[in-house]
């Protein structure tokens, strides 16, 4: 153990932008020393409860009274924001996973658990809202009969693919942190845990491959959804390349979401940041953004629609906000790499993700023109339900990150955590780690060598 840890249990911040060897992220460590139930957590829970009550009202009263949806705008913000946008942010498992497993970017493996957790929560939130948004959800059982599916329908593809994805690959890939905690929690559980882990590892390649195929399919089908609307989507967005652009946007958005969330968590809980990993992620994100923007602009010019971007209407406005946000985010990221500026990197992630969110949101609402006069704006209840389920996701994230090893950290942090539980709060046995000892040994033996 390095001398830097000394007797202090407060963790140091990494000031150097190039990671010192002992501060390299080597292990996912749970966030310790912080209670789960804080005032912000309670606010999130309150928002979730409000959303649940309003959902009950929606089920009884129908969709009209709770939302701004009308005949002209059949889809409000539930399908278009929580499903289309949030699952794009939650494509971390897909994008970062492909970079780590298929393209062998080894450094990104440290971000995998964060990516998997955010993906799982984003998809859970999205699928719940998909169910709430459907007007006749009791007929969802038809999903079990493949011969009843309309295979030509992009929406069928999205619903089926997303459900399978969330239930199998995502869930399975989120089990290892839970198993790990069980392993540390109770030594009597270890044989069972190890057996399960072995089974999991044997099917890992198949599950992981599914976890890349399925999101590729449904993220692009989310784009194909608006292809069928044809002329009603403004030509700056409507293109045969819409599925590809949607998948690509999901990639850079999820990089931004995962890396940005990781940076924010490290900032809030005072954890050292491994700039090697984050620089790698920023580099990839940068190239993804530039490639995407190039494809979009070339496609628009080929279809001779570039002129429409220079009119003074709301569509051009949204277009420029999107492009400036996305390309600006890419530029910020690139600059932050050179200047070793973490604040700029974080801003770059946030701005490009927001631009991507607006892009994925536009074809269904901002750029959708069913008739010349129609306008759409969400109702308050609609917004509160959407917000409440996002709050539920965030609350779930907070619980997971404080109870499971998700957030990456340097090696010494693991030892600090062990010491924290051993000496600072020895009476808290139920926190799970090191209940029965250090490194998995029995408490009696390790207490003899107790010595921090």
């Amino acid at each position: 153990m390095s001398a830097l840890t000394s007797n202090k249990f407060d963790v140091l911040l990494a000031a150097e932008t190039r990671t010192r060897p002992e501060e390299r992220w080597q292990r996912a460590v749970p966030v310790f020393g912080v209670p789960v139930v804080t005032s912000s957590f309670l606010v999130l829970v309150a928002l979730t409860l409000v959303a649940l009550v309003l959902t009950g009202y929606r089920e009884l009263a129908g969709l009209g009274p709770v939302s701004g949806m009308t005949d002209a705008f059949g889809w409000g913000i539930w399908k278009t924001f929580n499903v289309m946008v949030l699952t794009a942010l939650g494509s971390g498992a897909f994008a970062i996973g492909i970079a780590a497993w298929v393209f062998r970017r080894k450094k990104l493996h440290q971000l995998m658990r964060m990516a998997l957790l955010t993906s799982f929560l984003a998809y859970a939130c999205g699928l719940l809202l998909l169910g709430i948004d459907a007007g006749r959800p009791w007929n969802f059982y038809w999903i079990v009969f493949p011969w009843k599916w309309n295979m030509h329908s992009p929406l069928a593809e999205v619903a089926i693919c997303m459900s399978i994805y969330a239930m199998i690959p995502l869930a399975v890939e989120n089990i290892p942190p839970v198993l790990e905690r069980l392993w540390y929690f109770d030594s009597r559980l270890r044989p069972g845990v190890e057996k399960m882990e072995k089974h999991l590892h044997s099917v890992f390649p198949y599950i992981i491959a599914m976890a890349y195929l399925l999101p590729g399919m449904h993220q692009s089908s989310l784009g194909a959804l608006m292809l069928l609307a044809g002329e009603r989507v403004h030509p700056l967005w409507q293109t045969p390349f819409l599925p590809l652009l949607y998948v690509w946007a999901a990639c850079f958005m999820s990089f931004g979401c995962v890396a940005g969330t990781t940076m924010l968590c490290c900032l809030v809980w005072k954890r050292a940041m491994d700039m090697d990993v984050l620089d790698e992620a920023a580099r990839i994100t940068c190239w993804l953004i530039y490639g995407w923007a190039a494809l979009r602009l070339i496609d628009i010019s080929f279809r001779e629609q570039l002129g429409t971007a220079f009119r003074f209407d709301r569509f051009a406005g949204v277009f420029w906000i999107e492009m400036i946000a996305i390309i600006g985010g890419g530029v910020l990221l690139q600059q932050s790499l050179r200047a070793h500026d973490k604040g700029k990197m974080f801003l770059g992630y946030v701005v490009s993700s927001i631009g991507g969110m607006i892009y994925r949101f536009s074809p269904t609402t901002l750029a959708f023109r069913p008739n010349p006069q129609a306008l759409y704006f969400p109702a308050t209840i609609e917004i509160l339900v959407s917000l409440g389920f996002i709050a539920m996701g965030v609350a779930g994230f907070l619980i997971a990150v404080k109870r499971l090893a998700i957030l990456p950290g340097p090696l010494y942090l693991w030892h600090d955590m062990a010491s924290y539980f051993r000496f600072r709060r020895p009476y808290i046995r139920w926190t799970g780690y090191f209940k029965y000892g250090f490194f998995g040994e029995d408490e009696q033996i390790s207490q003899d060598n107790s010595h921090s």
Partner: protein
Amino acid sequence: MITKIAKTGASGAVAVTIGTHAVREEGEVIRIPSTAVGLLYDATICIGCKACVAACAEANDTPPDTRLDGLHQAPDDLNDVTRNIIKLYKPTDGTPSSYVKRQCMHCLDPACAAGCPFQALAKDPETGIVSWTADKCIGCRYCTITCPYHVPRFQWIGYNPRVTKCELCSHRLEQGLKPGCTTVCPTGAVIYGPRTVLLSEAKRRIKENPGRYYENKVYGETDNGGTQSLYLARVPFEDLGLPEIGPESVPAKTLRWQRRFYQYFALPALLYAGLVQVIRKSVKGHVQEAHDHEKETGLRAQL
């Protein structure tokens, strides 16, 4: 590894070529149902009496829509209780005005049915009528977005919402009656019959009345791949709310690559096989590294 990628790539290319050719053969021609029935609406004869609006509500047992002022049956557009409506195109520059009757077009390749996840909206193979089945509908409202004519309407109030649109009074057709709107039209502006007969009637009218009809065109003959509700008018069809779509149907035009990619699920399966190969290798390497790391640090590997 490179040879592996090359092998999978080559087989993939072969599969794509074969697959797209297969699709091109079968998917591009739209089938016209054997006894396709439809409506012919001649806007130059319509007097805007709205008897068809009242008759449609009566034939389908829906209450008249008095929501706007509480007194008159005055829907301002198709909605969850209005399957058929008369609208007025009145330009301010003195060019001729026209009434237009809007209801389901019963397209030969309907976009609503193409997008419906569990085939709640389906086209009858014989009569060609596109109808809605409550038991299969999940209320996703995708049909309201994909229909180029904005016909299907969702019921926004209540816990058991339905999707409403003209179904050519199929319940009356079974009894040998005609659709409600056609039985009450006082001028014969809208008539019912087999599509072939209606089409030849429309063409006969165009031939015998040169200059009366806009561009001597029957809207619906080939528009959007062909529809079973045909229109004749003296003003541009776009002004009446019937968009210019072209001879290719919306689903055929927009979902072409989507359909080719998922044909027989061949490409996704191939992609999956390729991914599994690549990932197996990566996993092996990763597990090896994790075990090395475990030995180094003495901490259990996190896989």
